[in-house]
Subunit: 352 residues, 2 copies
């Protein structure tokens, strides 16, 4: 499998089919692990990085994983291909921009991605559409056990799993849920929600994780603390409490808009649609902004004839690397804006 095989389709997590998929784009769990007999990467030589890479890829092959994964060697990929993986949420931006021997093993459905030599020796990620943390936890626990059976992870009886950054020590767990909260943004209540999340010591980030803004009304909520809490506790808190409550707030805000400001709501949705299907040049951020309004309109049944899965797909395909992949060569910013507008027109069906 190559990056070209990926770009022809859309990962499972973008299909908009899981529980609460009108508001919960995707759920993600990742575990950070390091091999017991190697230094952390900040202190590892290039030879040691290669040995870690070899050890882990062999462990993947020997492990009884229920899905095949395909290894992508980051040093063999060009910049656009690496960026495609970032846009598909299969690797981090740091991993794409990094140096030295590193890679990722990806399943065909894109529900799992095992990064080698990112910040830690191994970062395992599972990803699904909608709110599905419990099945994801079962899945990643199994992957973790299967790989650990083949090799030895750095583990301390008192501290738990050891990681390059102290914030990950313990379980090495990060639970992230990507939410689409346009109505809370429109009603101005989003600030309250973000303050409450902060009080619960949750991190709130944008579409591409750490250091990115919440463009297009997408918010990624994740835990910050990994030490002193069991994995099950964290996951239960997210699944049973935190996320359903935010979803409830967003639904209440949508209902309030539909009841009290339906004309303004429809106006926002339809203007966004009108611009997307007619513009001749579109920057990335404004596209996310307008797609966000259209997505809300589709989810609320106020704009028919398109499904949420299609809109989710557009979110993916209008991004810089995907556009360039589609065109088969590199495009500068202006060319991308023109290509983006053209693609949107072709997908949204207006024949201009």
């Amino acid at each position: 499998m190559s990056v070209n095989d990926l770009t022809g389709k859309v990962g499972e997590w973008l299909r908009g089919i899981g529980p609460m998929a009108d508001i919960v784009i995707s759920s993600r769990i990742r575990l950070a692990r390091n091999l017991a007999n190697f230094p952390f990467l900040c202190r590892a030589s290039e030879d040691e990085r290669r040995e870690i890479f070899r050890t882990l890829t062999e462990a993947f092959s020997s492990a009884k994983l229920d899905h095949n994964t395909y290894l992508l060697d980051m040093e063999e990929l060009d910049e656009i291909d690496r960026q495609v993986l970032v846009e598909r949420h299969l690797i981090s931006k740091q991993h794409a921009d990094g140096e030295g021997c590193r890679g990722v093993a990806v399943s065909a459905s894109e529900t799992r991605a095992l990064m080698i030599n990112e910040e830690d020796h191994l970062r395992m990620q599972v990803l699904r559409s909608g709110l599905q943390l419990e099945p994801l936890w079962e899945e990643i626990s199994d992957i973790d056990n299967q790989i650990e059976a083949q090799t030895s992870f750095a583990f301390d009886e008192k501290l738990g799993y050891l990681t390059a950054c102290p914030t990950n020590v313990g379980t090495g767990l990060r639970v992230s849920v990507m939410l689409h909260l346009p109505a809370l943004k429109m009603t101005g209540e989003i600030e309250k929600v973000l303050r409450a999340a902060k009080d619960l010591r949750l991190a709130v980030r944008g579409l591409y994780g750490e250091g990115t803004d919440a463009i297009g009304d997408f918010y990624q909520i994740s835990n910050q603390i990994t030490l002193g809490h069991s994995e099950e506790e964290i996951i239960e808190k997210f699944s049973e409490n935190i996320i359903p409550r935010i979803v409830e707030y967003e639904r209440a805000a949508r209902n309030a808009l539909a009841d009290e400001r339906s004309m303004q709501l429809d106006d926002k949705v339809w203007r966004a649609y009108g611009i997307l299907e007619n513009a001749r040049t579109m920057a990335s951020d404004e596209t996310l902004f307008f797609l966000s309004h259209v997505r809300m309109g589709v989810s609320m049944g106020r704009l028919q004839g398109i499904d949420v899965g299609t809109i989710n797909e557009l979110f993916l395909r209008i991004q810089p690397a995907h556009l360039q992949k589609m065109h088969g060569h590199a495009l500068n910013g202006e060319e991308r804006s023109v290509a983006r507008a053209k693609y949107l027109r072709s997908r949204l069906g207006h024949q201009n």
Copy 2:
């Protein structure tokens, strides 16, 4: 004829058929006259106003005018009907909002309007699509002569025709040309044109004359001085020099946009179109703004399937009084915005 008969159709001047109609919306000439044996209106009693009204309407009837005109008594019209006449450029805002005995005689084609008891006893106006000042001057001279043959105008051998405001003394002539200059606005050159117009002692106003802004990139250029210049001199200067030069500037700006910034140009035109055919609520000013861009796109052949006449008609019909007339009752601002968006959708053909 009543105001209801007017609103079903569009005046000749909006058909977009005259010379240079891509840029010159309309040409207008008006003459200010006062009856010799009556005081100016600021000093006239209500009885004298009635007598002026009677004298002039009788003169209209007896005069050999080549088009029939129909008299509308302003005191018998409600506020919406008076506003309809303003929106159709048949009377001034002052005339609509004024008090006391006053009226207007309008021809069925709406190419002429004779206001009684506005600022002067009589204000005669002729109006046509495109740049047509010479035929308009012939037409209004004939009307002037025919009416003067029936009554006596206040005239001074040295000063010429006497008028209520000193700026109109002499010929009582105002020549106005309405221009659509979106490209000069886009390229930023409009300021230079406006400064040059000011240096020539021309007045530049918006869509509804004195005291209105240039919304929708419409500029009304008119003479300010009536004393010491012959009518023919003023008209020739407008027809042969001032207006063709501004039209040339606008055409050059349009060509430059098409050559150097065609993508940005099309983007502006098509986004405006997309919003107009999809919005659910539209304020009046933003509608003029977007229609202006669409009009430019249609004139430049960049947006097909609509003609300039249709766009000109939309400019008329989206206005407050016309919308209310169409609905058969008064609408508040919010209701008008919703009705305006609905009407635009119905005319621009998208089936949402």
